[in-house]
């Protein structure tokens, strides 16, 4: 085998496992809210800028090590202060570039994302109050007068390794939060006991639920689907066993669900009344 063939074979062997990891995502989950889109955008932007700087700096460094070595008659720099105007200019270039990147290239989109996270300029269509509890979530629709608890349904036998794990192992609840698609929703978080944190990765939002405080954030979900998340503030023994499941429904179906809840079938699990439009893409997100 000659050298180019060997290299090609090596690269192929090294990248072959990627085929089996097609479902495995290194990146952010598929964003479904404006804030999640912006977060992903900021993340990608950071990655590009960082990679450009990385290759530029290391490129210059490696080139200098090769081109300006001692055997070619180059001497080490004395590291004295810049003297000429030209030297001062090149000293200030990285400083200015970093300022522009930090406050302009990164700062503007980051600021914009935070504004949409804390968007109080327009009225919310709906309010949902989320109460963390050791160890389950309680949801309340104050205006609609609906309140229910959302508790893990994964059977104990699966947790104890006596049965095979289900598809949504530790990410399934009896009464999921149900939201309408395309509506601006104001979430209020609080807690009954210790600090919890409500986090749905696909929404790009995460807010601590702090006892004695009401904290809030805003989100608008673009796509119907089932989205899963977890408590993300260590809150005690069952911290890993209080997942979040959100069913986002088209408005008509949401209104039907709401009417069913108001009619007093609150005891019936929302799973039954809400035909969950499970989108595999949205569903696979939190498993990676």
């Amino acid at each position: 085998m000659n050298t180019p063939k060997r290299i090609a074979f090596g690269v192929a062997a090294a990248t072959a496992p990627a085929v089996s990891m097609a479902d495995y995502s290194f990146n952010f989950p598929d964003p479904v809210t404006p804030i999640a889109h912006e977060t992903l955008h900021v993340h990608n932007l950071f990655m590009i800028v960082i990679l450009v700087i990385f290759f530029a700096v290391f490129g210059i460094m490696i080139y200098s090590m090769w081109a300006h070595r001692k055997s070619r008659g180059h001497a080490a720099a004395g590291f004295v202060a810049p003297r000429s105007g030209k030297q001062w200019f090149w000293v200030s270039v990285p400083f200015a570039a970093l300022l522009v990147i930090d406050y302009g290239v990164f700062g503007v989109p980051a600021y914009h994302a935070i504004l949409s996270y804390e968007d109080t300029r327009t009225e919310a269509d709906m309010v949902v109050k989320i109460t963390g509890n050791q160890w389950l979530w309680q949801y309340e629709y104050p205006k609609e007068g609906i309140q229910f608890s959302s508790r893990l349904t994964t059977p104990r036998a699966q947790i104890d390794n006596e049965e095979a794990k289900g598809e949504h192992y530790l990410l399934e609840v009896d009464n999921p939060l149900v939201l309408p698609v395309g509506k601006k929703i104001r979430f209020i978080t609080t807690s009954n006991d210790v600090i919890h944190s409500w986090w749905v990765p696909a929404f790009g939002v995460k807010r601590d639920a702090v006892p004695g405080f009401l904290r809030e954030f805003w989100a608008k979900v673009d796509r119907p689907g089932t989205y899963r998340g977890q408590c993300s503030e260590l809150c005690g023994k069952e911290h890993g066993f209080m997942p979040i499941v959100v069913h986002v429904l088209p408005e008509a179906e949401f209104n039907a669900w709401l009417a069913a809840q108001k009619a007093g079938s609150a005891a019936a699990p929302a799973d039954a009344s809400a035909p969950a439009p499970e989108t595999p893409a949205a569903d696979a997100q939190t498993k990676s």
Binding site: N133, Q134, S149, R156, N192, D193
Partner: protein
């Protein structure tokens, strides 16, 4: 209506003159009450300790850790439940569920339990207690004894406070004093508050007469008595 009479009865019991008579009446009323309540509870729901052991994950996060403290309404150790009466635990959970007993965390957890779950958990905690003792009645000159006599506590919770006359009442001997104090104070909270208070009218009327210092004395004394209730430290892997 019933509540009003019981409140009045409480004032009646608290004045010194009719104390003995009141205590007799209270015991009679409680017996009748117990007869009325007990068959209804025992009717068709049987607790299964093994099933309860599968459902206790949330309970033992606090009640399975020795001297575990909670912060509401004041910092106190959570009660020891292993060895407690099964029926009492089921009854307490039912009260938390409907809001007769108020504690935000307990209400949220109990709110997700069915009557069968409550009975199972009660059976689990009772059977998981490592001790079954019947200590002799303590004879001391502790000032708490006079207070306990004044409240007529023995008439329901048993002379040694480890053998209540009805399994739907709690064993108190050896229970954490700070928890007992918080519980007793909760019965004194008669104005409706969203997160504090206990609604049992008999306990409300019995506890009304005591000052905070007296309640503390009672609680300290009860903790010093030998009893069944303990906390069985949970496994690190569960």
């Amino acid at each position: 209506m019933q509540m009003k009479y019981l409140r009045r009865f409480g004032t009646f019991a608290a004045d010194g003159k009719h104390r003995l008579l009141a205590r007799g009446l209270a015991v009679a009323a409680l017996w009748i009450g117990a007869w009325a309540i007990a068959p209804a509870q025992a009717a068709d729901i049987q607790g299964d300790a093994a099933a309860g052991a599968q459902k206790n994950a949330m309970c033992i996060g606090c009640h399975g850790i020795e001297n575990f403290k909670t912060g509401f309404p004041i910092v106190h150790r959570v009660p020891m439940l292993h060895g407690q009466n099964a029926q009492y635990i089921a009854a307490a959970l039912a009260e938390y569920k409907v809001g007769d007993r108020k504690h935000p965390s307990m209400r949220a957890v109990a709110g997700t339990l069915s009557e069968q779950d409550m009975a199972d958990l009660g059976a689990y905690f009772e059977s998981a207690g490592p001790r079954k003792i019947d200590p002799p009645v303590a004879t001391t000159n502790d000032p708490a004894v006079a207070l306990l006599n004044r409240g007529g506590c023995q008439s329901c919770h048993g002379a040694n406070f480890n053998k209540p006359i009805n399994p739907a009442y709690p064993k108190l001997a050896g229970q954490h004093a700070d928890y007992l104090y918080v519980a007793l104070k909760a019965y004194q909270q008669t104005e409706p508050k969203p997160f504090i208070g206990r609604g049992n009218p008999i306990m409300q009327s019995m506890v009304k007469q005591f000052s905070a210092n007296e309640l503390q004395t009672l609680a300290d004394y009860l903790e010093s008595l030998p009893g069944d209730v303990v906390t069985v430290q949970r496994s690190r892997f569960r």
